[in-house]
Symmetry: C2
Subunit: 223 residues, 2 copies
DNA sequence: AATCAAATTACAATCCCGAATAATTAGGTC
DNA sequence: GACCTAATTATTCGGGATTGTAATTTGATT
C-alpha cells in the first residue's frame, strides 16, 4: 500500500537533508484531492502516499480542510499572479490589445500549468472540481484566489469592445471560464465527442482552437 | 434535524395511501447529492430528510452508489429524451436547421428543468458536478445517459456547417458543454463577474445571450 | 556537555458511516 | 379468516475517519 512512499523512510528527529516533507505532503495531497475530491479523500491515504505518519500532516497543516486550502492557494496564487503579469505586459505596449490576445493571456497560465507535469495537471482538475461545488467554503476560496484578476480581464475586454455593454461582457466571461475549465479538466468528454480523433491534435493547436472559439463568442453582436 | 421530514410519519406495514416513499427518497437524495456531492453526502441524512428509516433506502435502492445512479438516470434520461425530440422536430421541417436553432434545442431541456423547481435545479447542479469528476464510474454514467444525443447534435451541426471539419465541431461541442454546464450550475460566479448586475436580467434573455455566444463560437472561421 | 526546540512517530479517543439483520405491521388473496 | 407478501422500523455490526496526545529522536545552541 504505502510502497509508493517517498524515497527514504525517516526516523524521528530533525533531519539535516532530504526533501521538505511539507512539500511532499502538499504534492501528494494535490494528487489525491484532484482524483477523489475533498470529501472523498482520506488523510490516511495522503500520509501513505507521502510516506509519512498521519500526525505529521496535522503538525504541518492542521485540519484536513486547512490542508486543502493550502494546496489550492499554493498554485492558485501562481496562476492568478501570472495572469496579472501577462495582462500588464499586454496593456503596456502602446497599441490596444486584441480580444484574442486578452483571451490568450488569460488562458495561457493554466494551459502551461496543466502540461507542466502530473501535479500541474492534478491542480487543474482539482480546481475545475472546486468550481462545480456550491458549498460556501468553496465559493469563498475561489473568490479569494481568482476574483480580482478576473475583474481586470473583464475591464480589459470591455475596453477592447466598447460597443458591448459591460454586463454582457461579464456574462460572456462566465461562459468563457466554463468552457476552458471543462476543456482543461478534460475527463474523457472530448474524446467522446470526436470519436477519439482528438488524440492526434497537438497541444498548442488545441489552445488556438479554444481561443478562436471564445474570441468569436465574446465578440458576437448583441441582440 | 429530521424535522424537515415528509408530512406523516408512518408505521410499519403496507400503507394504502400517501406519497410513494421511493419518490420522496429520490427527491431528497437529489437535493443532498447536489449540495454535497456523492462522497460528501450521508445516507443517514437523506433518510432523515425524507423522514424514513435508513434501511428503507437500502430496501428500495440497494447501495448508496445504486441510489446515486437512480437519481441521476431518472432525470438524465428525461433530458436526453427531450433533446432527441427537439432535434427530430427541427430536422423534420423541410428547410435546413440554423446553428442557433440546434444550439437552442440542445440547451432548452436543461434550461427548463433548471427552472422547474428546486429539484430540477438540484439535478442540474448535480450533473454539473458529475461532469467534473474523473472517476471511472462517473464517466461511464455520463456516457450512458448523454452520449448518443450528443453525437446526433454533432452530426446535425456538421451538416449545418459543412465547411468546418468534423473533429473541429466535436471539439467546439465540448466547449459548448463546458460553458452551459458552468452557467447552469451557477455557483455565484456570474454575480462575481458582473458585480451583481446579473440579477436584473430575465431568464429567457440570459438563455438568448448564451445561445448567441455559443453559436458565434461554433461558427468561427477555422484557422 | 547539556539543554532546547524541531521533526517525526506510535498510539489512543471519539465519533460516525454504510451495511445488514431481524422484527413488526398491514393489505391483498383465496 | 388464514396466510402470504410488501413496506417499514429498530437496532446492531464492523470498520474507518479525523482528531488529539504523548513519546522519541535528532540537530542546533550555548
Amino acid at each position: 500500500m504505502a510502497s509508493d512512499a517517498a524515497a527514504t523512510a525517516r526516523k524521528p528527529g530533525r533531519p539535516k537533508d532530504g526533501p521538505e516533507l511539507a512539500d511532499v505532503i502538499l504534492d501528494k495531497a494535490e494528487l489525491a484531492f484532484a482524483e477523489h475530491g475533498f470529501a472523498g479523500t482520506r488523510v490516511r491515504d495522503i500520509a501513505a502516499m507521502a510516506g509519512v505518519n498521519q500526525a505529521l500532516i496535522r503538525y504541518y497543516f492542521g485540519t484536513k480542510e486547512d490542508l486543502f486550502d493550502k494546496v489550492f492557494r499554493r498554485r492558485g496564487s501562481l496562476i492568478s499572479g501570472a495572469r496579472h503579469v501577462l495582462l500588464d505586459r499586454l496593456l503596456a505596449q502602446g497599441k490596444p490589445a486584441k480580444v484574442s490576445e486578452i483571451v490568450m493571456a488569460y488562458l495561457r497560465p493554466q494551459w502551461d500549468m496543466k502540461h507542466s507535469g502530473p501535479n500541474g495537471a492534478a491542480f487543474v482538475r482539482l480546481q475545475a472540481r472546486l468550481h462545480a461545488e456550491p458549498e460556501e467554503h468553496a465559493i469563498r476560496l475561489r473568490r479569494e484566489v481568482y476574483d480580482d484578476s478576473v475583474k481586470r480581464y473583464v475591464q480589459a475586454l470591455s475596453e477592447a469592445m466598447p460597443r458591448i455593454p459591460r454586463e454582457t461582457i461579464g456574462m460572456r466571461m462566465a461562459f468563457l471560464v466554463g468552457a476552458y475549465l471543462f476543456m482543461l479538466n478534460d475527463v474523457g468528454r472530448l474524446n467522446d465527442m470526436t470519436d477519439g480523433q482528438i488524440g492526434m491534435i497537438g497541444r498548442d493547436e488545441m489552445l488556438d482552437q479554444l481561443v478562436r472559439f471564445l474570441a468569436a463568442g465574446l465578440c458576437a453582436p448583441t441582440g
